[in-house]
């Protein structure tokens, strides 16, 4: 296995649309969560969302836009930005050995929603010709391959909230094993359609509105947490062999050094201490590390009652006494839960945190929970923290747990 460098980062997110902006807002604890002002907001119990500031017409002409669901728009912009950031010279790349690996949980849900409205709501049979192409799960990856001419593996992973951590992990495996030279890897999600929001609402996993401050409605690891807030966006990475990156003088944002998977095989939604712990252990084993080698964790930290206490227990199970020395960040408090894109965005935040030697804060943690008694970097970022190696955890409905091991660039 060879070393794998992250040489490009592209983001469209509720915290901003470039690395500097995203990291600045994450450090300052500026929330991207707000009351959702939509025509259907009055029909939502908790009209909250973390939206991305994004004008598609700035990126695509009208004919192209008609082919792209919002989720593919996010993916394409993040991918182009990641490639631009990598400064890779395409004429030097064997595009037959360049792959695309994308995670998405709900894909083109807005387009599917529109089709259902036409069919069932409007009682019309006039379904738009591109509905299938807009809604299919591999549309974002397909468009990324077309846009950049990547002719290697083009794969889409849909494991709910761990989708993009899986995509990055699988891309890492292929680059590390030298089966491809480079990869665009990450995730995208645009889940803020009316139908999607109502479906999530029906699951009783969404946060209630904090009436004093709606931007503080998601409160990971806090006793008074009430659930998650859905967010939208995309995060893409350029991965390439370490030596090749060094040889071409690339700026290296960090290194992926391990990836662990496990499956709960227990319940379709309820998380499991054993399942989460198994994924963390598998990740450590993959990186040939032991628990004390880890300096910090970006937690899954959804802000649901079930996840946060179980994740705390899983971290204790794996890390023992070292768990109490780990800064643990739950950044979903301010960027919301991007579902299939969450793992990729949190991977980006972790890489940036290591670059800047910062432990990112877990916002809105004002009410300690005896079952969540680790160091979550409550409310305020911590500077000058020696963070060289991190875990980024993503745990999913369906039971697929994925953990990435990241290292600061040498």
């Amino acid at each position: 296995m060879r070393r794998v460098a992250v040489t490009g980062i592209g983001v469209v997110s509720p915290l901003g649309n470039n690395s500097t902006e995203v990291f600045g807002n994450a450090c300052a604890g500026r929330s991207g969560i707000h009351r959702l002002d939509a025509p259907y907001s009055h029909r939502l119990i908790a009209p909250l969302a973390a939206t991305s500031s994004f004008d598609a017409t700035q990126h695509f002409d009208a004919a192209k836009l008609r082919m792209l669901d919002r989720v593919s728009q996010f993916a394409l912009v993040a991918a182009s930005d990641a490639l631009a950031d990598s400064r890779i010279v395409f004429s030097d790349v064997d595009l037959g050995r360049a792959g695309v690996f994308v995670g998405t949980g709900m894909a083109g849900t807005q387009s599917n929603d529109d089709g259902y409205k036409t069919l069932y709501g409007d009682q019309s049979d006039r379904i738009k010709p591109f509905t299938v192409l807009l809604g299919m799960h591999n549309a974002p990856a397909g468009w990324m391959g077309i846009e950049h001419g990547f002719r290697g593996p083009n794969l889409t992973y849909s494991t709910a909230c761990s989708s993009s951590a899986v995509a990055i992990g699988e891309a890492w495996l292929r680059v590390a094993s030298n089966s491809i030279d480079m990869a665009l890897a990450g995730g995208c999600e645009a889940p803020l359609s009316f139908g999607s929001l109502k479906a999530w609402e029906a699951l009783h996993t969404l946060a209630s509105v904090d009436e004093k401050d709606p931007t503080a409605s998601c409160k990971p690891f806090s006793k008074n947490r009430s659930g998650m807030v859905l967010g939208e966006g995309a995060a893409m990475l350029v991965l390439e062999g370490w030596d090749a990156a060094v040889a071409r003088g690339a700026t290296i944002h960090g290194e992926i050094i391990g990836y662990g998977l496990s499956t709960d095989a227990g319940h379709i939604t309820r998380p499991s201490i054993d399942g989460q712990a198994a994924a963390m252990r598998a990740a450590l084993q993959s990186a040939a590390l032991t628990p004390p080698d880890i300096d910090a964790i970006n937690a899954h930290g959804t802000g649901t009652q079930a996840n946060d206490s179980i994740e705390t227990a899983a971290i204790k199970t794996v890390f023992g006494e070292h768990a109490r020395r780990l800064p643990i960040s739950a950044t979903k408090a301010i960027h919301g839960h991007l579902l299939g894109a969450a793992g990729a965005l949190e991977c980006v935040l972790s890489l940036l945190a290591m670059q800047h030697q910062v432990a990112l804060p877990t916002l809105h943690l004002k009410s300690p929970d005896p079952e969540c008694d680790l160091d979550y970097v409550a409310n305020v970022a911590r500077d000058n923290v020696a963070v060289r190696t991190m875990l980024s955890s993503s745990f999913a409905f369906g039971g697929t747990n994925a953990v990435l091991v990241l290292r600061a660039a040498s």
Binding site: D61, A62, A63, R66, R126, K128, P129, F130
Partner: protein
């Protein structure tokens, strides 16, 4: 009164990179970026604009003029069918009832 060409041209200008001056009957659809997939979308919108239902069988359409001819043929067939129905039902040909 707008011709079929005028109405189709207005649709094309709205949705594809083109100008009124550049569009003629001889303009190839592919020069507007309309491939077989794009044609499916164009014909979907044609159905709405002209109030016609296209047959499901594929038809070779290469130019703007081909599409105009196709639309005109379908509109004529529709008008003929309506006239036939009206005659069969005696609609519009029966004497008014005088009270």
């Amino acid at each position: 009164m707008s011709t079929t060409f005028d109405r189709l041209r207005a649709m094309l200008i709205k949705d594809y990179p083109s100008t009124p001056e550049s569009l003629t009957s001889a303009t190839l659809l592919e020069t507007l970026g309309i491939d077989s997939l794009g044609l499916a979308e164009l014909l979907f919108n044609v159905e709405d604009e002209f109030g016609i239902t296209l047959p499901t069988e594929p038809v070779p359409l290469a130019t703007v003029g081909d599409v105009v001819g196709y639309i005109d043929a379908l509109v004529a067939a529709k008008d003929q069918a309506l006239t036939h129905d009206a005659v069969a039902l005696n609609i519009g040909t029966a004497p008014s009832r005088v009270s």
